[in-house]
Assembly symmetry: C2
Homo-oligomer: 350 residues x 2
């Protein structure tokens, strides 16, 4: 039996005024005597009154809650994005309701339903790796609840999107590898359904093509973000009669797995095989060797997504969804060789 919380009604009775007056005093809407207002605020403070936002939400048909659905948050990627969302959301008086799909479409759907039931004002999400149908998401949008995607999305879905330049980042990474003299470059790719994976693969391919290096299907291995998959893939690469001399990895957890596998096989990094990942986990900094990586502005992604969403919430139908593409940055660490001035551009090309 929970002890009853104080309501505006309690305050009204104690001060012998009406609840409307109390309400006005509390949210300082006009038409209120400064004296009464002061009295109300004082009493509210004494009684440790906390407004019942449930009631307010019902009345206003607005919850001031932003829902977030991410695949997971045990790797630091999503938490860091959420940090950005939180910063921006709190500034505008929004609270966060976070849930994880655990990379499962089923759970993603459940989460979506929960978000709808909770009547969130808007939704920020990154799809699970399994998500290949979108009716549950369209159902949210049909209700007029704006959705902003980041990182993991599908082209056929409407809505604002915040992404990084996957193509360019991948291109730069592979281009860099080539400039350090690597020629047989493998790519541990992401789930094929995600737009992101394709873009990174394209960047990878085009960089190879630019330098006249043949693109080999067998060197592109999708890893699906499943634990163990990257290790397997890496082992597979090592078992090849003609080992690659570099691996470009789609994301951070995958890269760590690859790294562990390489070390287990006593492969010297970067002497025998160079490693570059598309990432931003701080892990890259303190593994051995520290990983050269294409880093993403995670915090900024979160802030941007939140800003877009809040705009859309306030502007309503008038708002046109937009796509924000943020820049990545290549950070050179120790998992790649130095750029060889001579081998920078193979003679075959120039």
């Amino acid at each position: 039996m929970r002890s009853k919380q104080t309501t505006i009604w309690d305050i009204a009775v104690k001060l012998n005024i009406s609840i409307s007056t109390v309400s006005r005093a509390l949210r300082n809407a006009g038409d209120i005597n400064p004296e009464t207002k002061k009295a109300v605020l004082k009493l509210a403070d004494e009684l440790d009154y906390q407004p019942n936002s449930i009631a307010a939400s019902l009345r206003n048909s607005k919850t001031n809650i932003i829902g977030i659905i991410v695949p997971e948050f045990i790797h630091s990627y999503f938490p860091r994005v959420i940090l950005g969302v939180q910063e921006e959301a709190y500034k505008s008086g929004y609270k966060l309701m976070i849930s994880q799909s655990g990379e499962s479409l089923e759970i993603e759907k459940e989460n979506i339903h929960a978000m709808i039931s909770s009547r969130v004002d808007g939704l920020i999400m990154a799809l699970s790796r399994e998500t290949d149908e979108y009716d549950h998401i369209r159902s949210v949008q049909k209700r007029g609840i704006p959705v902003v995607f980041f990182n993991r999305f599908a082209d056929e879905l409407q809505g604002s999107k915040v992404l990084v330049d996957d193509y360019k980042g991948a291109f730069e990474a592979v281009d860099y590898l080539i400039k350090t003299g690597c020629r047989r470059i493998a790519h541990l790719a992401g789930p094929e359904k995600l737009t992101m994976s394709g873009n990174r693969i394209n960047g990878y391919i085009d960089a190879l093509k630019l330098h006249g290096i043949p693109v080999l299907e067998e060197l592109i291995i999708p890893c699906d973000f499943m634990e163990g998959k990257a290790r397997q893939a890496t082992q597979h690469l090592l078992n090849m009669p003609d080992r690659p001399d570099a691996i470009f990895v789609v994301n951070d957890p995958t890269a760590i797995e690859a790294l562990i596998c390489l070390k287990e096989n006593n492969v010297k990094i970067p002497e025998e095989i160079s490693l570059v990942c598309f990432s931003n986990a701080p892990h890259s900094t303190f593994v051995d060797p520290p990983l050269t990586a294409v880093v993403q502005p995670l915090f900024e992604i979160g802030k941007t997504a939140a800003r877009l969403l809040i705009e859309q919430i306030t502007e309503g139908k008038a708002f046109v969804p937009s796509i924000k593409k943020l820049e990545t940055e290549m950070v050179i660490r120790k998992s790649t060789r130095l750029v060889s001035p001579a081998g920078q551009f193979p003679s075959s090309l120039r």
Copy 2:
């Protein structure tokens, strides 16, 4: 302008029955004709009806939301605990509202207010490192909202607590270091306000005492979980004329910093200095060298906390808060030396 969502009222009108009947049909409470029930469910499905849980919460004075406040979730510690909470909570039909205090007392207070306003049914929390007064938390409890603490708590606070055996874990770690031949063991400790820090320090001290090793104040340095602090502290240790031969570190992020600092100073681990941390981040596994650590059952901590909380929510006042102490486990990796059979117990002791 948001398109109106369908309500039980819409269903009622379409079927020419009353909203009470619709309500009964949907939550299959008794007194309902199977035929009408079927019709209602069918139409609800067709209209893609999602119950408005805001309204239900208001009516029932129960939100089925569990609030979680943690200091941060960019390190994997808290996310993993939250994973456990989520598993257990979802099973019982609870949703999660998560927020971060960012290790700030001010924000922690704000978060608390938001949780109260949202009328969460219960709260699971780990205090920020700054928290040294507890009125905001007592204010939650006074309202009859149960609170369960984990990891970071204060002894003077009432409520269920889920913790690990900090004392024992620390003791074992230091005991192990001694058995590997270390004699001058430093301790990078946690914020002094947290019970946890004290317990770990005591375990450290008692292990030293057991082996007759003098406890030196200068070797115990509180690190406060602030970025950069551990690095400074480690450097300080290295600058001593008489360097320690081992460091026992209070948690994982701190250990990583220490590790980086040691490496920068070209200190050989574990030959010159051994490193042990109280932790569970997977980081420990893939840094170089992999860290010997006292690991905690993070997922289990979350599940236990959720279970305790839900029990208290359902049982109400009858529930007596309890303290669950979970066991830690020492995992030996490469950052410590091997146990020297000879040096296991210094002769001075036996």
